[in-house]
Symmetry: D2
Subunit: 355 residues, 4 copies
């Protein structure tokens, strides 16, 4: 879990910048013998792909993945799987303004402070384009955990939340917001469109549920399943908050409200509630693993904001270019990918220690 | 960051169970030449120590730390620092009930599911007693980052939040709740006492602020400063939620509200807001690093809860014994410790890469 | 594998100095449910214990191990196993000479160059006493790999090698040199005694064989089984050379001499030779894993050697005190321990990836 | 140091098979601001490139490296550097024999035993082609340690060693053997040519010296500089032995012969010998770091060898195809690369801990 690598036994490393020739991921530690081809990965990239509706950035990227190693005769060999996605629509534009002044809310200043300079074209390494590599790696992870079903969806945009009573799983793929509530999707259409036209942006909350995780994955302390998930989710661009199960709401419960009662079940106990979000003491309980992730509104807006230049002079800046009005929407498949990556790693770690 | 070790370059490993002879931590990678003695560590343990008020568990533990290695003539040598705390008040009681049935909300079932059995005495490894080892390690971490001041305090208990207008730093040490709002502390006294007498428990939200962190600590992706903090905080017992800066609130902001404007400053820019919580693109900005942590109410309550036995029979269970009515209170020094441990590690990592 | 931790999934961290109150190891990632008590560890420490013959240092250390965590009702729980050995015979002597001048061949100068100062009492952290912690950890590792038998023995002291034709496994425990050749043991008695009386020291070569390792442990590249063994063995104090199988001799073979022919066997192929030392492409073949380890003569000798003081003045130094005339002898159980630690880790890693 | 990643702070991960479309490395943790282009990497690849003389395999690979990320305006940005080398001469041939039977001395059997199947084309992941990726990564490492000069050369082929009295650094690049002794190079020409014509192969010993390493790099125990070097070197294909400094010879010395006396020097002490190979207690002393690496003869020979098929039937096999008659020769730039990779990592690790 250093720098650009994530995971213990099932590990992936990503590389690439927004305006470089390509970006990619190397997935290491994948079990051998798993059927895997580019066709298994592409659908997940297509979900995250930009330019598919007016609610996402207009950058046109086919995001076509190539597998460069680790597969033989259609199956994983156990050696590193190198995945590459070429950048094709790095629009040549004038970056002189971004090069000179820091965009508040972006990583411009902090990168310069750390490294002394930065690749400012399209945000360089800090661009959300990097998440394409995670989505590709996440597709490999899914193949490692066929027993698990992972589903993420948007539950709130710009403070407007779904009505849980309207939750329809089948709705999620029917609107451009991954929204399970048809009525909310209708409202969001206006909301996001208004923000887009105003050159503003909106935050969002994404929920992710993994069903089929058997009890026993995780570890007592620093590789706690919830700790790993928190690291994974907070590592996504624009994420500022992570909850497991009832999350902050649990902090308002009394003990008797929060405890999830147990009853005898067929192979394992049945729980009568899931405030724990499927994790107790850092280890899965067999209930659905549930987390919620808060995305801030992207800082790329047309309203001028006070800032300073690299030389420390006062100025103001407007971020033109092609941007997502609500970056949380396309964050949804990324949240799913990170869930898959954490669970695949935990499955293998559990197998290592407990056979 | 595997199992029971946390950190990349400044790493610590903890060991020990609630009812074993002792618990401890080994801190590795500490820079040499730093003045350090048991007297530098003890005050932090004393803040976390049980039995100091009626609002914490009545277990009496002096939590006296011993340094067994890594110090010579009062200074760190650069070799591993072994810290040990003996358990003295492991009350001999009847654990047969806990051994037989799973306490809902506890790690009883998940540990059994993972390992096949567990040390059930006082929660074994899943007991919050383990956090004493983290607090001791955290004290070493503080010595590595003298430029940083870390302060955590409780901002909400049982849904009753402080009034930010009443915030008085000097109040924090004047009440048993680490509460910066005198009025709230007064209310909490009744609230927690009532819960304690009812055999119930309450959740809490702890906020932690680190000032003096220079710009440039952190990394773009999987060792993002916020990702590391999220892992560290979510790894604390009973924590279910973590926010950085404005956190979930940021998901309700529009882009122009969320961007923290910058103005020229003396050595580095001045920010006119801190919604980012001092971190942009995973790297510190020089502003205070701010996080908030949600603790669930402990599951050790006197209300009977439905559960199952190890053999899968229905039963109900009441958790007697000595417990904290609000585990978030004593979690406050643990949050501080984890903040220190993450920052010390990030300081050294930054130095490694950027000199 | 950072600093003072070794291993990927089955990991151990050691701590402690020659003249501190104690030393120890924390073993993490151990599978649960394995029968383990102090009585399983002590015999290995007894083999390494100083003061047992005139051919080892006269420091008297009972090297009594205590298990402080990770065991419940006689079995491993899957949580960290903390092992502690108290130092009892830190003879109070005058270290002012060692504090002032560097002993050539020792770590005195390099530690000072790295850390700015050092715990010079008995070599501090660089003392071979630290290997007691490894031997204790190694005993835990053996319990993880009951299918493997590990045997190390000395094949050469001071350039005088055993005759392979005289190899008798039963001899190994019958002499103070772990020597499988009775005749060689007789010669070494005189050789080592002469060196001891002359205040000199001798090098040695230790061979270690692990039988019962199934085919498939290891990894293609940087966690190659041979790479891990090389790291483990070269990490032992005084070791300067490591060979796998035919080792340097293989560099003198032609291809047709070196290839180990294979014939059909019952469950797996039979090999007609073992120049590979049981490892091909970094992965075990099912043949015995064989390595040889070269120990230099200890630098603690009575002959005055030219050196410099901390202030950079020319001087000469004689290393008095209690030292091993041939540190390779007591290195033998340490070599066994490292072999066990590597194999236990590789077994779990293999299980992680390949089920 | 897991699987296909090596290093702690300066880390690299390689991927790719002999007959896949490409192979590559991702270098992470590289300090920012270092001038680096493909032209800085290519010369090292050219040294390792096959097909340059009749003493190496006749496979024709231009081994042209492409930098896909991590460089902006000619300098490293501190983000991952992705290096890719396309395979162009994967000769389409009949691999049915290799697919069916195990080549003794190759990784065929052990890969199958581990993974259940393997990419048998040209050795797949176990092919020495993978070392091209290490050489590319090593060139990046060299840019991180400009203070260090690294030089490797062959000191022995097929048991015929150089005469140290004839050592001429300038000779190394004047013959196809990286041989510093002109007379030996002449003899080796006949020796290797004879082996090549006979369809046999020869082993070799490569020595590597790094000058300019300051005192203080390394760590006391499991990240000992010598332990890291041993892991790095033993991780190279066909390597079976590693020595530091006097190596196995030191095991034949008496203490007074082995200790390297010290005398006052200008900025640091001067050593009158270097049996330690520049490392004491796992930490560099400021003397040249010296290691020797033993390569076995490649197992790809024309002499039929007894073996078994995948189904366990007895057969014999001849390895046709294009192979190096002495793989140690082209191993020389790989040894240099691994030395650079270890030292760059240790430099950054030292800076992390000791500022």
């Amino acid at each position: 879990m250093s720098f650009n690598t994530f995971g213990h036994v099932f590990r992936f490393t990503t590389w690439g910048e927004s305006h470089g020739p390509a970006l990619g991921a190397v997935v290491d530690g994948c079990p051998p013998g798993i059927a895997l081809s580019e066709a298994d990965i592409q659908p997940f990239l297509d979900k995250r792909r930009p330019g598919t509706s007016k609610f996402t950035t207009q950058r046109q990227e086919p995001d076509q993945v190539r597998i460069l190693s680790g597969i033989f005769e259609g199956r994983t060999t156990g050696t590193p799987i190198s995945l590459m996605i070429e950048n094709v629509d790095q629009r040549s534009k004038d970056y002189s303004e971004v090069a000179k002044a820091y965009r508040p809310g972006h990583a411009d200043y902090s990168y310069d402070a750390k490294y002394g300079f930065r690749d400012y074209r399209g945000g360089g390494r800090s661009s959300a384009r990097e998440t394409a590599a995670r989505v590709a790696a996440g597709a490999v992870a899914r193949a490692v955990i066929p027993e698990v079903e992972i589903l993420a969806y948007v539950v709130e945009i710009g403070g407007d939340a779904i009505d849980r009573a309207n939750f329809e799983k089948s709705q999620i793929d029917k609107n451009p917001f991954f929204c399970p509530d048809e009525a909310a999707a209708g409202r969001w259409e206006k909301l996001v469109d208004e923000a887009r036209k105003a050159g503003s942006s909106l935050g969002a909350v994404v929920e992710c549920v993994a069903t089929g995780v058997p009890p026993g994955w995780g570890a007592p302390l620093y590789a706690k399943l919830d700790s790993e998930l928190a690291a994974a989710m907070m590592g996504i661009n624009a994420v500022k908050a992570v909850e497991i199960g009832a999350g902050f709401e649990a902090a308002r419960f009394r003990g008797e409200q929060n405890a999830d009662p147990m009853r005898p079940g067929t192979n394992q106990p049945v729980f009568l509630a899931n405030n724990a979000g499927g994790i107790a003491g850092g280890i899965s309980t067999g209930q659905p693993v549930v987390c919620r992730v808060g995305f801030k509104p992207t800082s790329s807006i047309l309203t001028p904001v006070d800032t300073v230049t690299r030389e420390g002079e006062a100025t103001e800046i407007v971020t033109k270019g092609r941007h997502d009005p609500c970056v949380g929407i396309r964050g949804t498949p990324v949240v799913e990918a990170m869930m898959a990556l954490v669970l695949a790693d935990q499955k293998l770690l559990h197998r290592a220690q407990c056979g």
